[in-house]
């Protein structure tokens, strides 16, 4: 699904990613751990296409299953493979909103406030903008509300919260949970979750973990979890754990690697 090769990227004049390579297949959950300043958030932003995160070398390709050709939406059943084909995109050549429409979702470490814009309005406009890029019909107000209610319920979020302005006056935990509601509504192919577990209490962590599993643990989806802590990985079992240091992956293993890190620290394990 995602193939990163020798990715090098600068933020301003400083090179942060130093030849990072990583392959994520559909159906997999990967965790990236690493000390502060290793380049974890830079990786997330670079994949999202954030301006000022300048790629100087390397490539990122994104392969998803799409409709082979325009078909009647009524008869198009995404659960069957008939009429579908793999499409590989050069991610680095795309604008952020095009990457989003292709199926990439970024769970922000610090979700951003947008005063005066309700969550529902924000998500409906965003989702319909994505659908437009993909050549799909926009969701009607009623269809959207139904979808939003379902996903909010999944994350045990009150619909009243969705009527409030995006992240304005939300607690740290509420913001993170809101990111997961957004992910549920947008229904991406690949979720890159940047420290979604930080700032969550124990109950909220469980809700978020369950949310990730139910939304993203599917054969045609994949997750890249960026985290500092084992506790999220207890809930969302990764298939692979990577250690990121100095802008590249220095070690890769299974779930046991995270436990090792928790016990011995980055320095000992990554050395």
């Amino acid at each position: 699904m995602l193939k990163i090769e020798n990715l090098q990227a600068n933020v301003g004049v400083t090179q942060i990613l130093n030849g990072l390579s990583l392959t994520i297949n559909a159906g997999e959950i990967h965790a990236i751990m690493g000390p502060n300043g290793a380049g974890k958030s830079t990786l997330a932003y670079t994949l999202g296409g954030r301006p000022n995160y300048e790629v100087t070398d390397g490539s990122v390709s994104f392969t998803t299953s799409v409709r082979a050709e325009p078909v009647d939406a009524q008869t198009d059943d995404p659960s069957t493979s008939s009429g579908r084909t793999d499409q590989t995109l050069d991610l680095l050549d795309m604008d952020p909103h095009e990457r989003a429409a292709a199926g990439i979702f970024l769970g922000f470490q610090y979700p951003v406030e947008i005063p005066g814009v309700s969550n529902l309005q924000f998500l409906r406009e965003s989702l319909n903008a994505q659908r437009k890029v993909r050549g799909e019909d926009p969701l009607s107000g009623a269809e959207f509300i139904k979808l939003a209610k379902e996903k909010a319920g999944l994350l045990k979020m009150d619909m009243e919260m969705l009527k409030r302005a995006v992240n304005v006056g939300f607690s740290g935990g509420e913001k993170k949970r809101n990111e997961m509601v957004q992910m549920g509504i947008i229904d991406p192919k690949l979720a890159i979750l940047d420290e979604t577990d930080s700032g969550l209490d124990i109950d909220a962590l469980r809700i978020v973990g369950d949310g990730i599993n139910s939304i993203m643990r599917k054969p045609d989806k994949a997750v890249l979890l960026i985290t500092h802590y084992q506790r999220l990985l207890d809930l969302v079992k990764p298939d692979f754990v990577h250690v990121l240091a100095n802008g590249k992956i220095v070690k890769t293993g299974g779930p046991e690697l995270a436990l090792e890190l928790e016990e011995h620290g980055y320095e000992a394990v990554a050395a």
Partner: protein, 504 residues
């Protein structure tokens, strides 16, 4: 990504070329301005320039009574001795008042019994203006559609007044000011120039001398006006100054909501628009006045555009009366406008909700005056300034509390949003309090659309312009929600259109 931008530009250029081929030359520059088109109804011009003869011509053309002509002439003589004010933070070349026309009207003034008889040319123009759906339904004669009366001011002269009968059965008078002068001279005489005196300011005095047409509304005692009243203004003749005159009187216990929307076609030369709006609210009366203003703002290089020098003032004469101004200002090259409330009646309330958006080389100096003379009077000011391009956007507001005005309350909030780093936002509050029991609050913020907000919205799927439009509409929401529904939708679109090309 650069290639994409280039392709996009190329595509746009091709579209433009196609359009040029089929459209008139005027459509050429119009590709970046939705309402940049013109129509070809014949004009009957007053001769160029401004003299006593011009004033007499206008008055004569309208068949006005002697007292009206005298009033105009008095204003003209006063104006000749006045000087254009220079205190606002706007710059524009001196206006040659002798190089403009002061009167134009469609040649054959139709007498209409129904909308079917409205000139299709005018209906076509309304369509292009994007008149709200509800009104289009009404225009199309859809049964049960909510009624919105459109007193169509087309090039200074009312050519269609609708729903007159229904309004009349409620006792509401809704006329062009020219008609009202003839039909209701006593009412007009009683209130014309009472809220904005003839000598008030240079542009108001000019308006008194040469006002072309406008609207008169009278809501009798205890009547809640059965429909929202709306007037569409357009400047349509090249070099024609527009001098609208509006007078709305709400008698005891009455209510009226008045909507005013403006767009203007693409023009190269600067056009002056100097309107005067006067509102009077008696005991327990309420007037809600909403404006969406989209005069041609000039091109990307600051060439052309309307000068909008407007005097709008409401008088809360009666106790418990209320006047509420809501404006969305996106157009004009230069805006000079301060819709104000004089709160004389006890417990009266003044409100000012404003969104002023400037882009490219636009300049706006706008705000309000809340003059508290009565006891227990209250006012609220919410001003949202949005600056983009190389524009300058100034909020200028006065809150004055008279010595005898006990227990006055005012709350003022001025927020400025900057797009890019070449525009300006300025806040100039004046607070004069002569009574110690007053409670005055002033809050002001200045912010930019942050990179974080932009990337967040883009990552969720919005392109750059959609993201800006969303954030700007959120910023302006407190004001937009004060607009009647059909206007709010239009206003949101207008904000987005006005910011096109201001990012990236």
């Amino acid at each position: 990504m650069n290639d994409k931008v280039l392709n996009e530009e190329q595509r746009r250029a091709e579209e433009r070329a196609e359009m040029n081929a089929e459209a008139q030359a005027a459509a050429d520059a119009a590709s970046t301005y939705e309402h940049g088109w013109s129509s070809d109804i014949e004009q009957d011009f007053a001769e160029k320039g401004l003299t006593e003869d011009t004033v007499r011509f206008i008055s004569g053309k309208k068949g006005e009574p002697e007292w009206m002509l005298d009033w105009r002439l008095k204003a003209f003589r006063m104006w000749e001795k006045m000087e254009s004010p220079d205190w606002a933070k706007v710059n524009f070349p001196a206006i040659d008042y002798q190089d403009a026309y002061y009167y134009a009207e469609p040649k054959a003034k139709p007498k209409l019994n129904s909308l079917d008889e409205v000139d299709p040319e005018i209906l076509r123009i309304y369509e292009k203006l994007g008149i709200p759906i509800e009104e289009q339904k009404v225009l199309a004669g859809v049964e049960g559609a909510r009624k919105v009366a459109v007193d169509a001011v087309f090039d200074s002269v009312s050519v269609a007044t609708t729903f007159r009968e229904e309004l009349e059965s409620a006792g509401v008078i809704f006329r062009s000011i020219s008609e009202a002068i003839k039909e209701y001279p006593d009412l007009v005489k009683k209130y014309l120039g009472k809220v904005v005196p003839m000598k008030d300011n240079y542009f108001a005095t000019l308006n008194c001398a040469v006002f072309s047409d406008g609207t008169f509304v009278y809501i009798p005692k205890g009547v809640r006006c059965p429909m929202e009243l709306s007037t569409y203004f357009r400047i349509n003749a090249e070099n024609t100054g527009q001098f609208e005159r509006t007078l709305i009187v709400a008698d005891e216990g009455s209510y009226v909501s008045y909507l005013e929307g403006c767009t203007a076609p693409m023009r190269d030369e600067n056009q002056l628009h100097a309107a005067v709006v006067e509102l009077v609210a008696m005991d327990d009366a309420e007037i809600k006045y909403s404006t969406v203003q989209n005069w041609y703002p000039g091109d990307e290089n600051g060439k052309g555009g309307i000068y909008n020098f407007v005097t709008k003032r409401g008088l809360c004469q009666g106790k418990n009366s209320k006047i509420s101004w809501t404006q969305v200002e996106t157009g004009s090259a230069v805006t000079w406008k301060y819709p104000s409330c004089v709160l004389n009646g006890e417990n009266s309330v003044g409100e000012f909700y404003s969104v002023a958006l400037t882009n490219n080389y636009q300049q706006a100096d706008t705000g309000t005056k809340m003059i508290h003379n009565g006891k227990n009077t209250r006012s609220t000011i919410i001003s949202k300034g949005i600056s983009a391009g190389k524009s300058d956007n100034t909020y200028r507001g006065l809150v004055r509390v008279g010595a005898n005005a006990e227990n006055v309350r005012n709350f003022t909030q001025c927020d400025s949003l900057l797009l890019g780093d070449q525009c300006g936002a300025h806040t100039v509050p004046y607070i004069e309090v002569k009574n110690p029991t007053a409670t005055i609050e002033h809050e002001a913020t200045t912010s930019k659309i942050s990179d974080d907000q932009m990337f967040y919205a883009q990552q969720r799927g919005l392109d750059e312009e959609e993201a800006v439009a969303l954030i700007v509409n959120g910023f302006a929401k407190e004001v937009l929600k004060e607009l009647p529904m059909e206007f709010a939708v239009e206003a949101q679109k207008l904000l987005a259109i006005s910011l096109e090309g201001s990012v990236g």
